[in-house]
Amino acid sequence: MFVRPNDISQSIDVSPDMIDSTRGRLLAVLCLLAVQVSLFPLYAQQPTDPAAHVYPEGPDVASDPAAYIGERVEITGIVQRTAPLVVRVETTEGSMTVRVANHGLSPERGAKVRVFGTLTAAGELRATDGFVVPQRGRWYAWGISFLAGLWVLWRLVAHWRVKLATLGFVPRETPATIRTWLERTMPGAEGPD
């Protein structure tokens, strides 16, 4: 339970130096990126499987609405009309509208709704469950998430640096602070603690 970084790295069996050179590191990153990229089409092509709760989604339905009649589908769309509820689903070929019945929701136009239910006809869904994601909530989530990204990025820059010789990340001996930067640029300023 109680290990120091040095102890840990000594216990690595594979020679860690192999991917601690600039070229080795870049090569390893490229290989991993290739794996990551190969997952994009693989995920898009995964078969629907109600037993695993993987249902046809909006774009599947929109590409061939008749094929999914009678099936349970999951649809995310932007509200076009509220009574009756009509949502727009984006697809490769453009967009398609779906009428949602039995939803019990009262969304405003422009809100996002996510509904689950049975397709009763091409472009008609009888909902069994669903909820509204208000536009204001989406702005909130984007804004606050952006701030969180900046905060973590700042901490990373303050606590870590890149060894130029190998492009490897290592912890800084002393965290970078705005004060140390100021001190570097303005020699008379007060130093860090």
Binding site: L32, A148, V152, A158, P171
Partner: protein, 172 residues
């Protein structure tokens, strides 16, 4: 997801509490844990470039959502591990894993229309984890609750556990 700030708060609190037991988990690695908590949300790139735009561009089925599955997150974590210098690779991997894992767990509690959320084992298995549907990502409540917890942990740490004496931390 709850919003990213909530995820960062959760990762901070978890890593900070663990740091009271694990001496190697210093502030630098708490930061790495927080960065790990952002990893599964790389999938949100679909908000900028939608899946259907990529499909039209490439002419092949395409989905960014793999980045939020167990397998996609593992590959992203490994990229972080490879970017770390060899002497710190193992602790970086552990911290990234804790952060990313905390994100996937929190996402497993999300409200979805089907009652099932993340695919933790994809591509090995398609199964989605059942979700109690506690919250929506667009609600501020999870951020406020996790923020209060993180602030509490931060206070405890700066009062009792800070600096060079982690053995004095309250997390025995």
């Amino acid at each position: 997801m709850p919003d990213l700030l909530a995820h960062a708060f959760i990762a901070y609190a978890v890593c900070r509490v663990l740091s009271w037991r694990w001496e190697w988990l210093t502030t630098e690695y708490v930061t790495v844990g927080m960065a790990g908590a952002l990893i599964p949300d790389i999938t949100k790139v679909y908000l900028v470039v939608p899946n259907h735009t990529m499909e039209r561009l490439l002419g092949t089925p395409f989905s960014w959502y793999s980045l939020g599955t167990g397998g996609g997150v593992l590959v992203s974590v490994l990229i972080g591990v490879v970017l770390a210098a060899s002497e710190v690779r193992r602790p970086v991997g552990v911290a990234l894993g804790i952060g990313a894992g905390s994100h996937l767990l929190a996402d497993s509690l999300l409200l979805t229309p089907t009652g099932y959320s993340t695919q933790l084992l994809w591509p090995l298995s398609q199964v989605r984890t059942p979700s109690p549907g506690l919250y929506l990502s667009t609600q501020p409540a999870p951020m406020i609750v996790t923020g209060v917890v993180a602030a509490g942990v931060w206070l405890l740490h700066s009062r009792y556990g800070g600096g060079s004496r982690p053995e004095n931390g309250p997390g025995k």
